[in-house]
Every structure is written in C-alpha cells, then in structure tokens.
C-alpha cells in the first residue's frame, strides 16, 4: 500500500500477508507497543521511534530487571535524569550507554524484546522543528500511526488529526490512552491498573468481604494492548476498503467497560450492583450458579512458599458423579446436600471442604490428569515456570519460540503469537531492534536522504 518505496530499498522485515503496510510507532510503556507488534507477525514494517539521545523506557528497566535495595539514579549523556520503572519497583543496574570500552550495553531489556520484536527502530528528536518536519515526511510514507502519549503531546507537535489527515489522507491514526482524547477527563493519566480500577474490572475480582484482588498484573496493558491491535487491523482493513484513513480514539478504560456489559445490563434491568456483599464470589460461579467450582489446595508449595492449587468444576451431573467416584465418596451422589446442582450450590462450603480434603495431600498435575480422564473440568494454577518448563500443550503448540538476542544474553524463550492461519501463516521475528538500528534504512532509503544529510542530522542532535 505504501507508495514511493525506492525500488532498491532493502526492507529489513520478513515478507508476509501485511507486507507493504508500514506503521509509524510512537508507543512506549506496555499498552501501546502491543498493537503494532501484532502486525509484525504478518510482515508489516513497524518503525518504532525513540527520542534522539534517549531510548524507550522498556529497553533498560521495566519488567524483569533485578531488584535492588539501593537504587541509584543514573545520568545519560544529553538526557535528564531517569529512573527505573517504579511500577515494577525495578532499578537500572547499569547505564544504557557504555561508559567505558568493553562495558556491557543494555539496549534491549527482556520485556522490550517481547513488546518490540519484529520492529525497526529509529531515533528522532521530535522537540526540534527539523525533527518534526521528518515526522511529517514519515507520516506521508506510512499507512498507520500509533501512539500512547498523553492527549496533548501530538497536538503540541502540530499534529492534530486534521493535520495528519491532510499530510496523508490514507493514514490510520490510533491514539491509545487511559480515558480517550475527548471529554472532561481527556487530560487524566492512566496506567493499566488505573484503567482496571476505574472501569470496574478490579472490583470484579476477589473474595467476598475482602478487598478487591484486582489483577496481579496490568491486564489492561496486555489485553488492552491486544484490543488496540485489533482496532488497528480493523482500521487498516477499513482504509483498504475505502482508500481513506481514519482516526481511532482508543480509551483503554472504555475498552474494559465493553467487557463488563453483562454487569451493566444486570444493573440497568435488575438494579443489581457489582458493589455488593456477595460479589465478587472468589473463584465460584454465580451465573450460572454451579458447584463445585473453585480452587483447591494441593500438596506442595512454590518457590516463594505459596501453596499449590488446582481448579476443579463440575458443570453437569455426570461430571459430579464422576468426581464423587474419583474421590472415593460415591455416597455423596445421593446425599441430599449434594444430590442436585441446586443443593450443591446451597451447600458449597461443605462440598468445597470435602474436595479440599481430597486434593490437600495429592499432587496437582495428578489431580488434573485424573479429573480430566474422568471428564471433569480441572486445571492446575500454573505459574510461568510451569508453563514455560512443563506445560506439554504449550510445547506442542510452540508457544514459546526461542529468540536470540546477544544483548540480553543469547537464546531465551519468548511469548509467541497465538493465531494459526492455514494459508498465510503468522511468524515470529528474531530479536527486537537495537537502539536506532534502522536509521540508515529509514532516513537513507525510505526518505532518500544522502549520507551528508544524515550526518548533519546526527550532528545537530536530530537523530
């Protein structure tokens, strides 16, 4: 779709069904980067822009980095002080730029590799008018622009939707933000947990009578990022149908609210609120009310001393009868407390205690296997270790491809892309790009700048 690609341009991405789609990616943190990343699996060319002289936060800090008790702020040449990503309580252990010859550079933290693999990386100073002119040029060469800055940032570069549309009428522009780019909260800031709290998603998780359990990670940065990825490909499809770009104002909080519709309708029709004493119901099921439906403690503990658990549910009478046989208590089937689902729901504390006594001294995967063999819903509460090192299903489905990245220590398993298409298969690229790795390709080949021009930009700190 992109016009004016020089004939001899060496597009450094693997061809796929989205070859020719080029995305200008101004995303950072977590919710933004996912959307363009999902397109890389089909050969889209995604240009991730980082500020000249600096770098994407996730390159160095963010998720997995060692935790230290004595964090030190570091200084980088030409940038202000930066800290580790506080949300994860992590700390930069070394400067991003090698301070002395031989010192290890860390330009690709593991999570950066997850969020940005398959992308190209360039540096650009968007604070400078000359840099902003280059943004305009890039907009002319791209099919989509994605950012998750605060609402005021792009307009402060002169890039309103009207201006963007004028620069490239075919371009799809998506802003991902906590609360959207209109309305009285448009200036409000948000991380995944903020959106989880505000939407009602956090309150819908936990034990009754206890504080909300929420989500033990930024569900709305992950699922929120995927919904953004869905909107982005939908926007590109629409542009392909009509030849016209569009603006997608994606509010992560609204996206989450659109996953809570049943509760909204229950309130509108029945006046029932999710803020009520018996909600959320832990791991039990209210709609439909079925029992057993819970987590049960098993033998053993994880590396942190947390008990191991298995989830078991019987949604049919046959499943319950099988379970009674399995736990050696066939008499429960005719016990009036448990004979029907209705009775089981009414007496589920007792029922859970009986099942819990059976699981307590048993191994979690044995329980799962035995239950599943008998046709009963059962699932180990798997940790990341369990999934990466043991889960035979994920191994079979090749969900943890190995990516080599010398900057983070070589070969490591990553999270793959889970859609298997028969005719135009998706693929996982190698490592995420190093800092400004594709300046030459983008500025030289794509924008047709000469070596002298590029050197000039570099000297002036534009790139």
């Amino acid at each position: 779709m992109s016009a004016n690609i020089p004939v001899n341009a060496k597009i450094p991405v693997r061809p796929g069904v989205l070859s020719g789609i080029r995305v200008l990616d101004f995303t950072w943190k977590t919710v933004g980067p996912w959307a363009p990343r999902l397109l890389t699996h089909y050969g889209a060319e995604v240009i991730h822009v980082e500020r000249a002289g600096g770098y994407d936060d996730h390159r160095v800090n963010a998720t997995p980095s060692t935790v230290s008790d004595n964090p030190q702020p570091i200084r980088l040449p030409g940038t202000k002080k930066v800290y580790s990503d506080p949300q994860f309580n992590t700390v930069r252990e070394e400067p991003a730029v090698a301070q002395s010859p031989g010192e290890k550079k860390l330009y690709a933290a593991p999570y950066f590799n997850t969020l940005h693999n398959g992308k190209l990386a360039i540096s650009l100073n968007t604070k400078d008018p000359e840099g902003r002119k280059i943004v305009d040029q890039l907009i002319g060469k791209c099919d989509a622009l994605v950012e998750n800055f605060s609402a005021e940032v792009l307009p402060s570069w002169g890039l309103t939707w009207e201006r963007i549309h004028e620069l490239n009428p075919r371009l799809v522009y998506m802003s991902a933000s906590g609360f959207g780019h209109t309305g009285e909260w448009k200036g409000y800031r948000s991380f995944g947990p903020t959106a989880q709290a505000q939407s009602g998603m956090s309150l819908a998780s936990g034990l009754p009578g206890k504080p909300p359990a929420g989500w033990g990670f930024s569900y709305l940065d992950v699922m929120g990022g995927w919904m953004g990825g869905l909107a982005l490909i939908q926007g590109l499809l629409k542009a392909k149908q009509t030849g016209k770009g569009c603006y997608i104002d994606y509010s992560v909080t609204e996206g989450a609210m659109s996953m809570l519709g049943t509760y909204m309708l229950d309130y509108q029709v029945n006046g029932r609120r999710t803020r009520r004493p018996d909600f959320p119901p832990g791991n039990r099921s209210i709609f439909p009310a079925v029992a057993p439906h819970n987590t049960y403690r098993c033998a053993g503990k994880d590396r942190n001393g947390q008990d191991w658990w298995v989830f078991i549910a019987c949604e049919t009478q046959a499943q319950f009868e099988s379970l009674c046989g399995l736990i050696g208590q066939p008499n429960l089937v005719s016990d009036p407390r448990f004979a029907t689902n209705e009775a089981r729901v009414a007496n589920q504390d007792e029922l859970d205690a009986i099942i819990g006594r059976w699981t307590r001294a048993r191994r979690r995967y044995d329980i799962m296997r035995k239950c599943q063999t008998a046709g009963i819903i059962a699932a180990v509460v798997q940790s990341a270790e369990d999934r990466v090192e043991y889960d035979p299903q994920l191994q079979h489905r090749e969900m943890h491809p190995i990516i080599n990245n010398p900057e983070v220590g070589g070969d490591f398993p990553y999270e793959g892309y889970p859609v298997k298409l028969s005719r135009t298969p998706a693929f996982v690229h190698g490592r995420a790009p190093t800092l400004a790795e594709h300046n030459q390709y983008v500025y030289g080949e794509l924008l047709g700048m000469s070596a002298t021009e590029i050197a000039g930009l570099r000297e002036r700190g534009i790139i």
Partner: protein, 412 residues
C-alpha cells in the same frame, strides 16, 4: 452507519467461547447468523435473567454478547440440518465455531468439507486448539485463568489464601480478541487474493502469553511471583498500593515519578490534611532521594496512605489527576453510568428491548471510531427468531419444506 464488517455474512455456531467475537463482527456491521441447538445456545441459560426468572429470551448475558445477531435453530446432529448448514456455509464469508476438535469432521462440516467455498474464512476458537496432548481436556472460563497463569499472579498477599481469577469471561474475551485479529487479517488478505483460509486459535495459548512480567521474570531471572493484594505480583514483596479511602473505597496508588511540580502539589495537599510528617525534611526536596525512598522505603508510602485515608475516593481521584498523578479509584462497573466524561464521549448506545418495554443503555464497542463503527445496533435475537426468514430467503425453502423439518424436530 457503516462498520468495518459491513456486507459480510458470518455463520456462528452458538457457544459461550466465541460469542464476543461474533458480537464484534455483528456490531461492526456484519450479518451474523447464529446457529443454535434446539434447546438454545448455552449462552441463553447462564443468567443473570430479567427479574431472575429463567427464560432463554431474557438472559442478560446473552443479550450483551449477541447484539444484532440472527438466531437460526438447527439440530446439527441430524443430517438434514447438516445439509442446511453446509448450504449456508457455501455462501458465507466467515464461519466461527468452538466445538471440541473432531466434532465437525464427524458431521462432515470440517474445513475440508466446506472449502469448496474458496472465499470462506473458517475460524475455530477452542480450548486447546486442534492438536496437542491436552486437546480433549474439559475447560471453562475460570479454568483457563488457572492454567494460563492469570490466577497464579492474582490474589492476596497472604500466601495461604487462594489465587483468584477475575470474573466476567475474561479468558474467552482474550481468545476472541485473537480469533478476530486473525479473521481481520484474513479478510485483509482476501481482498487481494480472493481466498479464505482456516484459522486455529486456542484459548490456552492466548492466556499463556497474557501475564505480562511473569514469563520474562522466570526465563531471565528464575524468579517466581508473589501474589499481592490488589496490585502487581512481583518477584519481591512490596508494600500495598491498593489503599483505603475515608469513605471505604480503594485507591490504586500506582507508582510513578514525582517531579518537582507534582511533588510540590502533593506536599501542599498533605499539609492541608495534616499528614505530611517526615516529608517536611528538606532531603525530600531532592528528587533522586525521594524517589529512591519511595521505591524501597516506607516514609513516602506511609504518607501517601495517610493522605488517601484522609480523602473520600472521588475527591482523591480528581485531585491526584489534576496534579498529573495517575491514581485510579476502584469503581463498580455500573457506577460508570453516572460519570459525565463517558456521556460526553457518547459512550452509551440505546438498544430497544420490547421484552421489558424500554431501551437500555449499552456500552459502545472497545474504541471510538466512526469508520470502524463497532457498536451495538440491535438487541439480541429471540430463540429461533430468524429460522424461517433464513431458510426462506437464504436457502429458498418453501413453507411446506420448512413445516416438514419443524415437524420432525430438525429446526425450530
């Protein structure tokens, strides 16, 4: 309004797993024909129901996940119904199904059997996908959050308390997001190639990549996450970030940088509430020092907890946000109806419900974008509401033929 899926015909085999994907297709303008068993989709029977009275036409969960769809009731276990479904598929653009692997092959409705329609995009969203050692295991929504890793990171700081999975079909939502991503890519390709294809998505695969830091934390550092009440699991235990307000709600005091201006406002606010304490010490004027203390110590955190405890939730949220602090208040889903911001953004869509004689404001689709145009357009269908219409208009059947099928219980 014309949505991104306008003009497409989707055949959806009723199932609770895939119905959100079908809804987004329908909300995006596609004509979605949901094929239901004689007794109705399982989605009609789960509740909650209008006035809590069990009625397959009054299930609110079904209403939400099936806006704008058409309901055609066929007993696909039986040959005449299989033939009808096959005919529908010969003209459809998309087939969305979630049956256990192998089921449709037995009914001669697997991809190979209907691939004569070269343009058909045949999408299977199942628990484990079409292959693998766990392929035939029995699952539901919550069990996927267990197996996929969401529960392992979610729950309470007390290590003896159970892990928790969030309510509201979240594993199915995740699966639907990806199956629709695949379908949309396939549509993009089909515009050029003219050809459809087969799509295989496993909910387990999707959930397994949806736990943010947990996997890289394990693969790089060999660390296991501690569950922490209302906040991110972490390799190391941290002080709480979900803090009670004066009016018994909770703020999520997400950690972030406090630059000079934000800090000045924060201290002024703390002074006002008389909770500043040690933070008056000039050493906290040094950004590096205070951020370091905030990350690893208790002085800043304790003051924040006191500040939040001294404010009502709403007041606290707005004031923090006015200073550029990204804290969020734990709201209930239904409380969003009263918030002017979402009204200003035209978030609610009125859907008429003759069943209760009034309209209900539904949430819009995930994004605001007229061109994509994904938003509820019409109420969900009643059971079998469109059986006759589809058999007559799409398949050209006569009233007599339909009566014979109905009489033998093949359709409803």
């Amino acid at each position: 309004m014309s949505g991104v899926y306008e003009g497409l015909t989707v055949v959806e085999l009723a199932d609770r797993r895939n119905q959100w994907a079908g809804k987004l297709l329908s909300d995006g303008g596609a004509r979605v024909i949901q094929i239901e068993p004689i007794g109705g989709s399982p989605g009609r029977w789960c509740g909650p129901f209008v006035d809590d009275k069990v009625d397959p036409d009054r299930c609110l969960d079904y209403w939400w996940y099936n806006t704008g769809k058409q309901s055609v009731v066929l007993d696909v276990e039986r040959k005449p119904a299989q033939d009808l479904l096959k005919k529908l598929l010969s003209k459809a653009d998309i087939f969305l199904e979630s049956t256990p692997p192998g089921t449709l092959a037995k009914l001669d409705l697997d991809y190979a059997a209907v691939a004569d329609n070269k343009a058909l995009i045949y999408a299977s969203l199942t628990d484990f996908g079409q292959d693998g050692p766990w392929r035939d295991y029995q699952m539901n929504d919550a069990s996927h959050l267990a197996l996929g890793g969401q529960m392992s990171s979610t729950g309470y700081s007390d290590p003896a308390v159970t892990p928790i999975g969030g309510q509201g079909h979240q594993s199915w939502h995740m699966g639907c997001a990806f199956v629709l991503h695949g379908i949309t890519v396939a549509l993009f390709d089909r515009m050029t190639s003219g050809e459809g294809q087969y799509i295989d998505v496993a909910i387990h695969d999707v959930c397994a990549i949806g736990t943010e830091a947990a996997v890289p934390q394990w693969t790089y550092y060999g660390s296991t996450m501690h569950r922490q009440t209302g906040m991110h699991a972490n390799a190391k235990r941290q002080p709480p970030l979900q803090l009670p307000t004066a009016d018994g709600k909770y703020m999520i005091a997400v950690m972030q940088n406090f630059g000079p201006r934000v800090w000045e406002n924060l201290i002024k606010w703390m002074d006002e509430k008389g909770v500043t304490g040690e933070l008056h010490d000039p050493k906290y004027q040094n950004e590096a020092f205070r951020m370091s203390e905030y990350r690893t110590g208790n002085v800043v955190r304790d003051a924040i907890a006191r500040l939040i405890a001294a404010n009502n939730g709403e007041e606290c949220f707005h004031r923090a946000q006015s200073y550029g602090i990204s804290w969020g208040l734990v709201h209930a889903a239904e409380e969003n109806y009263d918030i002017p911001h979402y009204q200003q953004r035209n978030y609610w869509r009125s859907i008429e419900h003759p069943e209760i004689g009034r309209t209900i404001p539904y949430p819009r689709g995930p994004v605001a974008c007229d061109a994509i145009g994904i938003e509820p357009r019409r109420r969900a269908p009643h059971l079998g509401e469109h059986t006759r219409q589809v058999l007559t208009q799409d398949l050209g059947m006569s009233d007599n033929e339909i009566a014979v099928l109905a009489g033998s219980g093949v359709i409803r």
